[in-house]
């Protein structure tokens, strides 16, 4: 302590006292404040970070389930919910060469699991340079487990979705297939690709009935082999709403292995092949004549006389010796009679009528595999005549099935569909002919099945209607009589038509029991009959065990 010398008190001295404790305390306070400030700053940083984490964190990387959901694709089922296509998780087997201890031993072990691949192939793959060597794709969970149990190091798995078609060949052309990225390439897979690819999309219900499809495909296959035809197609359609219940095309393929299939097998003959279908066109000519009122059911036509149009004689396979009316013209499949009726209708009205029936355009079905018809550029009088009995115009079996369905369902055109009808996907109808004309067509086609060329198609108790069609195939020098396309269009039951069935064979051969014929009455007609015999009970069509239902044109009622 020091005393100030200028102290004016009694002692008048000033003493300077150096407060060393005060300075120490002051310095200590400064340090405390700095420390507090640092602490506060650190605490503030921590709190701000906490606040940022708590308030602004989006919670990423907590759920990677959505990543796998992107690879989903909706199932395809038939109209009854039977599975046609689904997506399963399969595994791709990879190898990392640096971790493989013994490539030869690993290759041998893999060969034992997958005998279809040689051990040398496995070894070659295992010893290639690279980080991730593809060994094999499409392993099932069981195969994956078996590989896992080998205990060989260096083998890895990667999950990937794969489209699986558990029904194999059945309905292959309808269902189609996808590529490895699950993008639809053919059939319904392609037609409904957008709907199937949507996240969490529900199963897609097709109009197809798997049981009907199987029956149609089996009978078609049997007949194709029996008659040694090159290809064949069969269609079953609900004529009142356009639903395709079955559409078989032979040869077919396994959509699980589309890459190993011949391109010819991928071809859907029912909707892509255009044929000059022959006499199955005649009901259309009759319908237009009745609709335009150019003739009636009783007027006779002189088919016994030669008919010449532009230096071309129109000939009949079963020539009549006397004039015949429309029912007999159709039942005996008279080209001359049909040509005479078409001449009365005229080319313009004929084209208009064919367009109304959708025969001049591509069938508006969902499938991209739907071919446009081949129509002559100039519609001459000879065109009117030949088209009346199914030559000079090439259409797909599906197009003709749709047209005949229009004639028999009461007269309304309904576009065919592969999608099951419901309250959203309703049938859009457009009237083409009157119900009265439609009834006449039913009577005429029933007459063909009971008294005409379609007798072999008639099924006891189901009263079918039908029409045969045998056409020579076009060749370089006109038509080749040895190469035929035979077809049969049928509908049932006569008293309340519900379903239309179409069968066609490309180049069927005469076989034992057909007396040298390869015409539709001997092959396509009985095949259609067998299909109807099998599918009618499935479709709930009650069998009529009463007297045979005859057309009004039948002269002598048949006795069961």
């Amino acid at each position: 302590m020091s005393i100030d010398p200028e102290f004016s008190g009694p002692a008048r001295r000033q003493v300077h006292v150096a407060d060393t404790e005060y300075r120490a305390v002051a310095e200590g306070r400064i340090r405390i404040r700095i420390g507090a400030a640092i602490f506060a700053f650190a605490l503030m940083v921590a709190v701000i970070r906490l606040a940022e984490v708590s308030l602004l964190s989006s919670g990423k990387n907590t759920n990677n389930y959505s990543q796998s959901a992107k690879l989903e694709r909706a199932d395809i089922v038939d109209r009854n919910g039977e599975l046609l296509a689904t997506t399963l998780t399969t595994y791709t087997l990879y190898a990392r060469s640096e971790y493989v201890w013994n490539a030869a031993e690993t290759a041998r072990a893999l060969h034992e699991l997958f005998p279809d691949m040689e051990a040398q192939d496995f070894q070659r793959r295992l010893t290639r340079p690279g980080d991730q060597l593809l060994i094999r794709r499409g392993l099932t969970p069981k195969e994956k487990q078996n590989v896992f149990l080998l205990g060989q190091p260096g083998l890895m798995f990667e999950a990937e979705p794969q489209r699986v078609y558990p029904r194999g060949h059945l309905a292959s052309h309808i269902v189609g297939f996808t590529d490895v990225d699950l993008k639809g390439l053919a059939g319904s897979e392609r037609a409904f690709d957008t709907a199937l690819s949507e996240p969490n999309a529900p199963s897609l219900a097709l109009s197809v009935d798997l049981r009907v499809q199987n029956a149609a495909a089996e009978e078609l296959q049997k007949s194709l082999e029996h008659f040694k035809a090159d290809t064949g197609a069969a269609i079953v359609m609900d004529m009142n709403n356009g639903e395709i219940l079955a559409m078989a095309s032979l040869p077919n393929y396994d959509p699980n292995h589309p890459n190993t299939t011949s391109p010819q097998n991928l071809y859907n003959h029912a909707s892509m092949s255009t044929y000059e279908l022959g006499s199955v066109f005649k009901p259309i000519t009759m319908a237009m004549a009745l609709e335009y009122g150019v003739t009636d059911l009783v007027e006779t036509f002189p088919v016994q006389k030669p008919l010449k149009v532009r230096d071309k004689y129109i000939r009949d396979d079963h020539p009549s010796q006397h004039p015949i009316a429309m029912p007999t013209i159709l039942a005996d499949s008279s080209n001359r009679g049909t040509a005479m009726i078409a001449q009365r209708v005229g080319g313009d009205r004929q084209q208009m009528f064919l367009k109304e029936l959708g025969l001049m355009d591509r069938v508006p079905i969902e499938l991209t595999e739907s071919a446009a018809p081949q129509v002559q550029r100039e519609w001459q009088d000879i065109t009117t005549v030949t088209v009346s009995y199914g030559h000079g115009i090439s259409v797909t079996p599906l197009a003709l099935t749709t047209a005949i369905a229009t004639l028999l369902n009461g007269g309304e055109y309904v576009a065919p569909t592969l999608r099951k009808r419901d309250t959203v996907h309703t049938a859009q109808k457009r009237r083409v002919i009157t119900a009265e004309t439609s009834q006449k067509l039913r009577d005429l086609m029933r007459y063909v099945a009971t008294d005409g060329t379609g007798k072999k198609a008639d099924v006891d108790g189901y009263a079918i209607m039908g029409k045969t069609g045998t056409a020579d195939k076009p060749s370089i020098n006109g038509y080749d009589e040895r190469r035929l396309v035979s077809s049969f269009i049928a509908a049932f039951p006569y008293q309340d038509p519900q379903y239309v069935v179409f069968v066609t064979f490309d180049e069927p051969k005469a076989v034992e029991g057909t007396h040298g014929y390869a015409t539709a009455g001997w092959n396509a007609a009985p095949t259609a009959g067998k299909i109807i015999e099998r599918i009618a009970p499935i479709l709930g069509v009650e069998r009529d065990t009463g007297p045979v239902l005859e057309s009004p044109f039948s002269e002598t009622p048949a006795v069961r």
């Binding site: 558990p166 194999g168 015999e533």
Partner: protein, 112 residues
């Protein structure tokens, strides 16, 4: 510096400290809740993955079942093992025809 201003400064500092404390507690609370939520979310994701695995297994079973009950396979099996073939029209009968095809047998007369 007066006693009043020194007092006001002290009160202001206390308020800021209390507010800071409340903010810190709230933030910590929120962090705790958020952490719990994320844990729950992770558990939900785990459960979702299990459900997905189960659904995938069900899909495999459904596909196997569809393959096993394919009409062509059943037809082949029933033909080879049981000798069955496709039904024909003549083998079918409507309900109304049962009585005519299989008439009721006469009732035996009762013994006197």
């Amino acid at each position: 510096m007066s006693v009043r201003s020194r007092h006001n400064q002290s009160v202001g500092g206390s308020i800021i400290f209390v507010l800071f404390l409340i903010g810190a507690v709230l933030t910590l609370g929120l962090y705790y809740v958020k952490t719990n939520a994320q844990t729950a979310k992770a558990e939900a994701a785990q459960l979702q993955r299990l459900v997905s695995a189960e659904l995938a297994a069900i899909k495999v079973l459904k596909a196997e079942l569809a393959h096993l009950e394919s009409p062509a396979r059943l037809s082949e099996l029933s033909a080879s093992r049981l000798g069955f073939s496709s039904i024909e029209v003549k083998q079918t009968l409507t309900l109304k025809d049962i009585e005519s095809v299989f008439p009721l047998k006469d009732q035996p007369e009762a013994n006197p």
